[in-house]
């Protein structure tokens, strides 16, 4: 099976005045289609940095990155943007729903960007909102939804376009335990059902316990990989 993510020897430095922070120091990582990968490690270990590169929001200083077989480092900013539009879904710690759009419109948004005709778009968005169990809340604005409901809308928004890869940076960090568990269950369930590939950065024990594959990052290096 083809690797969705194939990274070799990824490096990234940040410069803060005089000091240099080695955020990623030689990362090798392969993720297959349909995998649900947890990325763990202490604060500052480089999880977010790695996810940003994986999600094409940022680039390595040096290193190779192939996404779905494409050498993404060679793409221009506009091509990266289009690539994200079609192939990558995002779930954020603080949900990042668009406050002027209803739950349904938030879920429709990626499809609008893709230029999908209204009829198909509505159908797909309805399916996605059903999948996360929020059909009754379709016309609620985000500020009228609970944290868990918002994150479920965000999950539907990430999944609706059936992307190659879904990036989630601390998706449960803003939620209470019960809600977090539900959100984790939902992501895993939908990941299985849709064959979606997830990379999830987390501090959350609850998450790591449920993941088949957990990657440990320490000081920008992948320390040990357990299957």
């Amino acid at each position: 099976m083809c690797d969705v993510v194939s990274i070799s020897n990824g490096h990234k430095k940040y410069h803060l005045g005089e000091t240099t922070v080695q955020a990623l120091a030689g990362v090798d990582l392969n993720i297959q289609q349909g995998e649900f990968v947890a990325l763990v490690g202490p604060s500052g270990s480089g999880k977010s940095t790695l996810l940003n590169v994986c999600g094409l929001l940022d680039t390595f200083d040096t290193g190779e990155y192939q996404l779905n077989g494409i050498d993404v480092h060679k793409l221009q900013p506009q091509q990266l943007s289009d690539f994200r539009k079609d192939n990558i879904g995002f779930i954020f710690q603080s949900f990042n729903l668009f406050p002027v759009m209803s739950a349904f419109e938030n879920i429709e948004y990626p499809l609008i960007l893709q230029g999908i005709p209204a009829k198909d778009r509505k159908r797909q968005a309805s399916q996605a909102i059903d999948d996360v169990g929020l059909e009754k809340f379709a016309y609620h604005m985000p500020d009228k939804l609970s944290g868990g409901q918002r994150q479920r809308v965000a999950i539907a928004r990430a999944l609706v376009k059936q992307p190659k890869l879904i990036i989630a940076d601390e998706p449960t960090a803003s939620l209470d335990t019960d809600t977090a568990n539900q959100v984790i269950d939902l992501m895993q369930e939908l990941g299985n059902k849709k064959g979606a590939t997830f990379v999830v950065a987390t501090h959350d024990e609850r998450m790591t316990k449920r993941c088949k594959r957990v990657i440990h990052l320490i000081d920008g290096e992948i320390n040990n990989e357990m299957v």
Binding site: S81, D82, R84, I88, N96, P99, M101
Partner: protein, 405 residues
Amino acid sequence: MKWFKFALRNVLRNRRRSLVTIALIAVGAAAILATQGFSHHTNKMILERTINSTGGIIISHADFFKRDEEKALEMGLSDYPSIISSLKANSSIKHVLPSIHFNGMISNGDKTVIFYGIGRNALYFHRDDAEINFVSGVPLSMKPDPNKEPEIILGKDLAKSLKAAVGDSLTLMSTTANGTLNAIDFTVVGTVDAGINQLNKTLIYTHISDTQELLDTDKIHTLSIYLHDFAQIPILLTELQQKRPDIGITPWSDHAETYNKVKKMFGSIFGVMGIIVFIMVAFSVSNTMSQAVVERTREIGTMGALGTSKILIITNFIIEALIIGAIGVAIGIILAFMAGFGLEILNAQMPPGPGFTNPYPLRLLISASLIIDTLISLLVACFLASWFAASRGVKKPIVEALTHV
């Protein structure tokens, strides 16, 4: 449509800020419309008065308006009767009226002063749309009695200075076309307010035929063509100019000094005003949109992460600014019309300009083209300002924008 809906919701999101911006645009638009409307109305009024007085097209000797005459009627027209008859058939023409401009001395026996005279056809005063302000007496007669003394009309201050009233006899002295001095007695039939102080002190009107007799000539200076419709002026002008390149055929605007001066003055005053409002609107919208952009940094980051192009993100802010601008201008239009209506009801008057004698109505002429110009120019201001603000906003790298708090 979707984008419009989202933009509208974003406008409503920070209602207070949007309202302040809309109010400012409304006031700016109303200011432009009111000042321009006032200037257009005044221009139009002067234009109509001028054309009513001078005619729309003036036919003269080719050099008449170019240099001074050394002898009376040196640059007069002698074949004018044939020109008049050649214009008879033209249905767009109401009247073709001759005039002679002349100077001399006028005396009541005790006191002699200089005058500026215009020899006119009596029809000039009897046109149904004639705008001549008689203080006393009547216009020149259409059929003067050949057995009586010739008729004269005086500017009101000239009459005062000569202590002349209707029915009094005065002597006009002037140099004839061949340079000799001539004098004829005239009877005052009326006095007029010409609207301009200087004219009121010197102006006289006499019949063309009496003027020709005084000046011992059969020529005239100008033929004024009065048309049914101002719009016909340029058409007839070129037609006549092509037909008679040998004589001077000029539009009224070549000789309308007051009109041209006023128009130029208003143009520069209100042009500056328009620029100030444009800049004010641009700054205020840019400020509003910049605040919105900063507040929504994380949303912009999220849009970018989901693959929204920069152009589309910028477009969203531009649509918002255009909504704000359109609402503002719409309110401004209503305000300006209300102001115009108020002036109408109050019958507001402007004091006479320097050198003029009469107040004139303060009204606003708000035409469709003025509204469209105002709308477009202020929307352009909104467009540029929001583009500027938003394009600075989308420069921030997505990763930074997403972590913005």
